[in-house]
Subunit: 457 residues, 2 copies
Amino acid sequence: MSDSIKYLLDEARLPRSWYNIVADLPTPPPPFLNPETQKPVVTDDLIDLFPETVIEQEFATERDIEIPGPVRDIYRQWRPSPLHRARRLEKVLDTPAKIYFKYEGVSPTGSHKPNTSVAQAFYHKEGGVKRLATETGAGQWGSSAAFAGSLFGLEVDIYMIRASYEQKPYRRALMETYGARCVPSPSNETVVGRGMLAKKADHRGSLGLAMSEAVEVARRRDDTGYALGSVMNHVVLHQTVVGVEALAQMEMAGDYPDIVIGCTGGGANFAGIAFPFIGEELRGGRKTRIIGVEPAACPSLSRGKFAYDYGDAGHLLPLMKMHTLGSNFQPPGFHSAGLRYHGMAPLVSHVMDLGLMEARSYHQSKIFEAGILFARTEGILPAPEANHAIRGAIDEALRCRTEGRSEVILFNLCGHGHFDMHAYIDHAEGKLRDIDYDEGELAKSLATLPMEQVAAA
Amino acid sequence: MSDSIKYLLDEARLPRSWYNIVADLPTPPPPFLNPETQKPVVTDDLIDLFPETVIEQEFATERDIEIPGPVRDIYRQWRPSPLHRARRLEKVLDTPAKIYFKYEGVSPTGSHKPNTSVAQAFYHKEGGVKRLATETGAGQWGSSAAFAGSLFGLEVDIYMIRASYEQKPYRRALMETYGARCVPSPSNETVVGRGMLAKKADHRGSLGLAMSEAVEVARRRDDTGYALGSVMNHVVLHQTVVGVEALAQMEMAGDYPDIVIGCTGGGANFAGIAFPFIGEELRGGRKTRIIGVEPAACPSLSRGKFAYDYGDAGHLLPLMKMHTLGSNFQPPGFHSAGLRYHGMAPLVSHVMDLGLMEARSYHQSKIFEAGILFARTEGILPAPEANHAIRGAIDEALRCRTEGRSEVILFNLCGHGHFDMHAYIDHAEGKLRDIDYDEGELAKSLATLPMEQVAAA
């Protein structure tokens, strides 16, 4: 159809491999460091947390990494996900640009997160553990981990930021319906948690702290592995199924993107759609502008330093070189909890450092305006995180109108917002403020980066 | 693929017509009656509420009714919806049966309701009104009407049962994000509403009452049309796109259903999947068992009388012959608000009367057990309404195991449950009681049916 709205791949065309950008990068990413010895991490440093195949993926340099059959069998429930042409949005914007989006909200939990939770659960099951320990903030990751655990017969313990645990009973109920156990973090179940509670009995929790609790439990218990929702290389790898599909679907549509856009929190959904297109360029294919869009209240790419930093509050995970606001940085409250992380995936950070992408940030009123326009034209009500990518795409389309250019824009609509209606209510009631982080706090946080070799961003 | 999990139709294969079962029925359905004159309804009786094409569809006798281009253009956002084979559920049930389901949760509002809201909004826009008035209980219909209105540039006023208005702020927020106005019903905006409030200032509302408010507004205002989410013939017609697609997808799968199952509230989602298969049988094709599954607390097919009754509390809509519990019947509280309606679509009632289908009912603990098993195996967390169909499918699959029969079962998974987590919380906390309606109340309600010609069910 010449006026197609969506481009579907049959499940027989589900990708057989994830794409590992390391194979095509001009320089390898800086190694992870053991936080105690500050020497490059080796397999033994990670073996308490991850199954062997996952550790291999952390260090992998080959381009195509096979997606195991049982993972593909579950992916096929909703994958390949649809690629849409946003024709009604284009019309309302009166732009000569073509806007495409990849829609990850069709997954059972409504976001891109199962792309990696299913793979991680499979490898952990294969590795012989009985239980996964993980953290969650907004709940998108936690519910996806719970979903994956239920399919592979793994117990799932989820350390959920206490503030979210109390404010988001529906997300918690989703995890529990899948059979997972939710624990408000900080908890009394870990040394890290007890330490925090001793200092502050009513601690509201943070993502970095919940990560440390899950890591501690996975280290202590032989029957328990650690799963995480973003940042590390294997997570980024699993998300590339999005971009590999998008490459084939753009070909179906007879177009190739001039611009690829994703929102960035930990970086995995962004990398998932962007890396396969960067790979095309690195191997001599067409050049694409790659744009990461982040919240102004937590702008690790725009304002962070590219430096070694801790991934979690308890300093149990490896030191990773990344664009970071410092592991002590506490972003102000805003409605995209999935983007409230102090650092950026090391691979995304390295790609940024190599000049292969650009970043921009928006305040939340601007991104909600974009999301509501999108809902009223395209019909899908997006997750607040996804609204960042939509804002970026709309602004590029408006630039195209001004410049009279018919560029092709592709963005990742990483999830629906049916669990995020409180944010839309706040917007409707005028309660959604454009909060900035405190510059003094940021400077203080950056001053405590753990290594000397801090390079200016 | 021989082990396919889902069967997708390209959007070029989106049906061009809805299926009108009236063309194939051995006897025509009893006519609607004007509630004042008790004579068969004519076009003029409905012209204040509906555009001409919708009224034509109420009376239509031709088999295939064309889906207008602009409606198909919007359907293509998510249609054809996927047909899934529930292989993991089959395995857990250890059944020789094959279980297929059609998944309507991929629509922007997460249910089958946009299949008709989009069509209704198109016809109303074409008819020249500026505004739609409608009612909503659970909010699935209201949000779908709001979505459709936003796409066609119609204002949408939604009379929302006051109890839901207060208990479901997220559903309300979804409607408002699409630009609709939600009014708690009973309201001061209508004669019917004011009358109820005068009798009972803290009236919690009911679907029949909210319908009357919307109908009254549409009658009074020239610029306003009335839209409804189930029951009437045109709504049932629009939902048949589900079954027409399913016929083609079952062919792709190389199977034909021995059993087709849907949940029944007003009857439209059930009819949507079932009628095209009944039509095949009526035209000499294969016979299929057709099963409607309803809540034990509101069992219009199982326990209602087949008689003329009012569709709404204010007696503004036509008298329709249907399986009814009486328009004064107040079902006890249970968690499938979308199935809390006293009557059954006249066409479904007629099909039941002709012996072309069977009905069964379940208490809510049984249907939630089924829904949770489904979530943990298939990954999709279903709407409580859809859990009825799942329960029916599981019980048929278990019968097949007992009998050693490999029958083919197809059911309609009419929506996801992401807006219904409060119900899952109640289930998890053991607060979900199996409530029965009061037999005395039912007898009283049935004693007040408006016409003499009441036939025993």
